[in-house]
């Protein structure tokens, strides 16, 4: 008996070692597969903002709260707004870092970007589509062959230091909503703006406000204005002259779902059973 065990144990140990070795290689193969489907250039930038669900109050007034670190930071390069006049060919803000959290009722989005000077007219905005219709990222302007919908814009300006909830459907149609659901607070330190926007995930105005259902992806875009004045006293960036991104993705994460672990455990059981039956049958077949 002991002799038999002496034979089996080393074999089992090496077998486990071989199996584990292969399993560590497996994720590398899976990653290669993912790279094929990712959009080009995605190594340099994010494609999505993911807001994990947290317990306790959201840090609406505190961009430096520790809980922000539980959200993965997304990074989006920004372009000067060149899409329609009056355009600019160079904007101050080149990159935007975004984190987001939600507590099942409210969502908080933190924008973080470098701006060498603090100015009263420094501003930032987040844009969403409203409803099922697609909207162009430039203020929901009309499209020739597609019937577009409106956009919902959450706006913050340093001198007011509050959130403004707005809608637009085309250039020159920007309108402040009669009901304000968005709060915003900006903090400037060490050449960096940190602006936190908060709003309930769902509101009572689905025709004007974007509705955020957990688990699903929605479109998101950003804009930033450097409110610095030039020598003649004119604002460097204002109105359509700003740094922008086109549409990316946003998701408020659904509460954790462990069902895939159960399915995996059942699958391992079935596979073990299959092996057992197969080997039994093969052994019987041989001895017969």
């Amino acid at each position: 008996m002991t002799q038999r065990l002496n034979h089996i144990v080393p074999n089992v140990v090496v077998g486990v070692w071989l199996a584990m070795g292969f399993l560590t290689v497996q994720p590398v193969l899976a990653e290669e597969k993912a790279a094929v489907t990712a959009p080009p250039g995605s190594t340099l930038q994010s494609v999505s903002v993911s807001a994990p669900m947290v317990k306790g109050a959201l840090p609406a007034d505190d961009p430096n709260a520790a809980v922000w670190s539980s959200a993965t930071m997304a990074r989006f390069p920004m372009s000067p707004q060149v899409h329609w006049p009056n355009r600019i060919l160079d904007a101050t803000v080149k990159d935007l870092n975004v984190r987001a959290l939600h507590d099942g009722t409210n969502v908080a989005i933190l924008l973080e970007y470098a701006d060498p000077t603090e100015d009263p007219d420094d501003s930032a905005a987040i844009e969403f589509m409203v409803g099922d219709k697609k909207a162009h990222f430039a203020h929901g302007q009309p499209m020739a062959q597609v019937e577009g919908g409106p956009v919902n814009i959450w706006y913050w300006k340093n001198k007011d230091n509050k959130g403004v909830d707005m809608n637009a459907k085309g250039f020159g149609t920007l309108k402040v909503q009669t009901h304000q659901d968005v709060k915003a607070k900006g903090t400037y330190a060490n050449g960096t703006w940190k602006v936190v926007f908060t709003r309930p995930l769902a509101t009572e105005h689905p025709d004007e406000d974007t509705q955020i259902a957990t688990g699903g992806f929605i479109n998101i875009a950003f804009a930033v204005w450097d409110g610095k004045k030039d020598v003649s006293g004119e604002l460097k960036e204002k109105g359509s002259q700003k740094a922008v991104t086109s549409w990316w993705n946003f998701r408020a994460e659904a509460p954790p779902d462990y069902s895939s672990y159960y399915y995996a455990a059942i699958a391992v059981g079935v596979a073990l059973g299959f092996q057992f039956v197969l080997i039994r049958k093969l052994k019987k077949g041989h001895s017969a």
Partner: protein, 238 residues
């Protein structure tokens, strides 16, 4: 050489060809992992059919597999056998987890990069003669209006391109303007991103609608300058 070894060697050769040789054929591209897997499955199935046509060849093929699985094969392979017996259920579990777990990736969007233009923009010929003067003028307009995004080198990497998704087209890439007619470029420049049909996802495009700012003649000259600068020629009617 046993048939099993042959099968393994054959699959390794197929993998090496698909992975390292095919992408290097001019005009080809790296194959997706799923396609490589499919070809290897086909190779394996073909080999199994071939190896099991007669009773002797069937025994030569399945015999070693059966002896390996039942543990009759002898000492040296025992460790490998336990490895396989542990690995197989774990892989099944892993695959099940992957296919049922909620994906972190946003839904993929199949955007058509070059959708069909409206009828009135097909087959138009450039009314501007391709003279050195016209090309030069076109390049000047290109530098002023297009190069901030499409780049001074016509490579789509202008300083204003970085925030846009999809990125501005790279004209030096043989799969962009070299595949298109001048009339197609005329449509895309004149009507811009918002002129695209739904499959082109017009809501994402940052391409300006230049008809509100530039006369047609300038657009035609830009097209001449663009092809010349990017060292490409427009596609013509075959």
């Amino acid at each position: 050489m046993g048939p099993l070894i042959k099968l393994i060697v054959l699959n390794m050769v197929v993998y090496a060809i698909l992975k390292f040789m095919v992408p290097n054929i001019p005009g080809s591209a790296p194959l997706p992992a799923s396609l490589v897997f499919l070809y290897m499955m086909l190779t394996t199935s073909g080999f199994v059919i071939f190896a099991t046509v007669s009773a002797e060849s069937k025994e030569a093929f399945w015999g070693p597999i059966q002896r390996f699985l039942t543990g009759e094969g002898g000492g040296g392979l025992q460790a490998l056998r336990y490895g396989v017996l542990i690995l197989f259920p774990l892989l099944v579990g892993w695959q099940t987890y992957n296919s049922t777990a909620v994906s972190d990736a946003p839904p993929s969007e199949n955007r058509t990069i070059h959708p069909a233009p409206p009828g009135e923009y097909t087959g138009l010929s450039n009314p501007i003669s391709k003279t050195p003067d016209a090309i030069q003028q076109g390049k000047g307009f290109y530098a002023a209006f297009c190069s901030p995004c499409h780049g001074g080198n016509f490579d789509g990497k202008g300083p204003a391109s970085r925030g846009f998704n999809p990125p501005p087209a790279n004209f030096s890439d043989p799969t962009t303007i070299a595949m298109l007619q001048e009339s197609y470029l005329f449509w895309r420049i004149k009507k811009g991103g918002v002129g695209l049909p739904i499959e082109g996802m017009p809501w994402k495009s940052a391409m300006p609608r230049w008809e509100v700012e530039l006369p047609d003649e300038w657009i035609w000259k830009i097209i001449l300058g663009e092809y010349d600068g990017a060292h490409q020629a427009p596609r013509t009617w075959e």
